[in-house]
């Protein structure tokens, strides 16, 4: 375990930023966002950012290729370029897990080279939670917020910041920062304190009982979906703030002298998500609503050794315009039903 004092933190950031672009959560206009660090950009004290950090690896809009069309002929331009090194600081344990969930989609054959390139060039410095919110339920998915993953894990206390490398990539970066060795007593004390709070959280008792692979037809046919989705607006808020939602659309944009094929986030909550020329296989909002939660709680674990497609970050709880969310779904149709 290495350490630096809080006052020295900006100096450490400067050292990191000397070799790679550094992003960290900062407060802007009343909400917390990831921003590029430069002298004067302060690390936020908020628990987490409004938007998830999945943007760093899977941006909302990304150009894929370019076509030139002349008469009947077409040429395809590969406009990919190798990503540059970057570091993301302050990623919470839940969001670190979300990268693992995305990896299992994008980094299985056939590899998504856009995602893979960013993943290779990005270093994740996670930060342990010490003040979880009432909307947190990461423990439900077996995530330990006091012991986050990533390339380097960081614990912030009142006066110091503790650093520990988890991977070779992290080790390499950490060795350049010139931090002092220390014992892990302070970190252990913080962990213990946080653990106690975790068990007091209102959603501490939430379990995944009743969900998981192999439960498709049983859960799919439950009548409760109708009342749960009754007031769903069909907007994409939950999807776009979600760290694990990875559906995308591929679209063409005609610039006048070339055609750019780009991809952008899409939401299975949208009415045109599955709409094709001859019809739509999910015509009602009930079906679309069910798809999103079934995917996270049943389909994804079925394909991925039981790992759920939700990390319990609580963003959808905070942001849904009608306050419908995965917790209400789990409590209504899962093993937690009262």
């Amino acid at each position: 375990m290495l350490k630096c004092s809080i006052d020295a933190l900006n100096g450490v950031f400067a050292k990191i930023a000397a070799d790679a672009t550094l992003y960290l959560p900062t407060d802007k206009d009343g909400s917390t966002v990831y921003a590029e660090w430069s002298e004067g950009v302060e690390l936020s004290n908020a628990l987490n950012t409004a938007k998830s950090p999945k943007d760093f690896f899977f941006p909302q809009v990304e150009d894929l290729m370019k076509f030139k069309v002349e008469g009947k002929s077409i040429s395809v331009d590969d406009i990919r370029s190798e990503s540059e090194d970057f570091v993301v600081f302050g990623v919470r344990a839940c969001d670190v897990r979300s990268f693992d969930i995305l990896d299992r989609v994008f980094l299985v054959e056939p590899y998504d080279s856009y995602y893979a390139s960013r993943r290779e060039h990005g270093v994740i410095i996670s930060m342990a939670c010490s003040k979880p919110a009432e909307t947190c339920f990461c423990r439900t998915f077996g995530i330990d917020c006091t012991n986050p993953g990533g390339d380097i894990a960081v614990w912030k206390t009142e006066d110091s910041v503790y650093w520990n490398a988890n991977t070779e990539k992290g080790e390499k970066l950490l060795s350049k920062l010139g931090l002092e060795e220390c014992s892990d007593d302070a970190v252990n004390a913080q962990k213990e304190k946080t653990e106690k709070i975790m068990s007091k959280l209102p959603l501490a008792g939430l379990t995944t009982d009743g969900f998981g692979g192999g439960k498709t037809l049983d859960l799919f046919n439950r009548p409760e979906w109708k009342s749960l989705s009754e007031s769903c607006l069909g907007c994409g808020t939950c999807t776009f703030v979600c760290p694990t939602c990875q559906c995308y659309d591929v679209k063409d944009f005609n610039t006048g002298n070339a055609i750019i094929r780009y991809r952008c986030w899409d939401s299975c909550m949208y009415s045109d998500f599955t709409k094709m020329a001859h019809g739509n296989n999910r015509n009602s909002q009930v079906e679309r609503f069910r798809q999103r939660f079934m995917h996270k709680l049943v389909y994804y674990p079925e394909n991925n050794e039981g790992i759920f497609g939700c990390v319990g970050c609580g963003r959808c709880l905070a942001k849904c315009p009608i306050s419908m969310n995965i917790v209400k779904v789990m409590k209504t149709i899962g093993g937690n039903a009262e």
Partner: protein, 144 residues
């Protein structure tokens, strides 16, 4: 390297019945107006959806002008009255978002006013040229 003189690209939506004929008359009378004014003929100035205006800017226009029949003279009785309300609100909104107000204009030009058409275009192009390139409503993808 030679520095190219900046010439603004202007999109003019002209109503079929008055302003387009006005533009024709300007041409017939050999009146000069900038060659960078691209005329788009519309059945009535009221056909111009606010989206057309924004799209013109997106596609590289530096200024957008709508020309229609004088109020009261609309071929369809009242089309230009609706245009007048719509564009008043749209231009006010664009200004509210900080987009230069000189980039947009509505002018009533009748079929007989070839001279007015040319004068309007000259004046508008001059004002837009003074502002320089449209930076605030541009789509960089279309500029590559």
């Amino acid at each position: 390297m030679q520095v190219k003189e900046y010439k603004p690209l202007i999109v003019a939506f002209c109503c079929n019945w008055c302003s387009y004929a006005g533009a024709d008359l300007a041409g017939n009378n050999r009146l000069n107006y900038p060659a960078d004014v691209k005329i788009i003929r519309v059945p009535c100035s009221c056909r111009v959806n606010p989206m057309f205006v924004l799209r013109a800017f997106q596609r590289g226009a530096d200024g957008v002008i709508l020309c229609g029949c004088h109020p009261g003279d609309c071929h369809y009785t009242s089309g230009n009255y609706y245009t007048r309300r719509r564009m008043a609100l749209l231009f006010s909104m664009l200004d509210y978002l900080g987009i230069e107000r000189e980039r947009t204009r509505v002018e009533w030009v009748s079929a007989a006013e070839g001279a007015k058409f040319a004068a309007t275009m000259n004046d508008f192009a001059e004002k837009v040229a003074a502002l320089g390139e449209n930076k605030r409503l541009e789509d960089l993808r279309c500029k590559k």
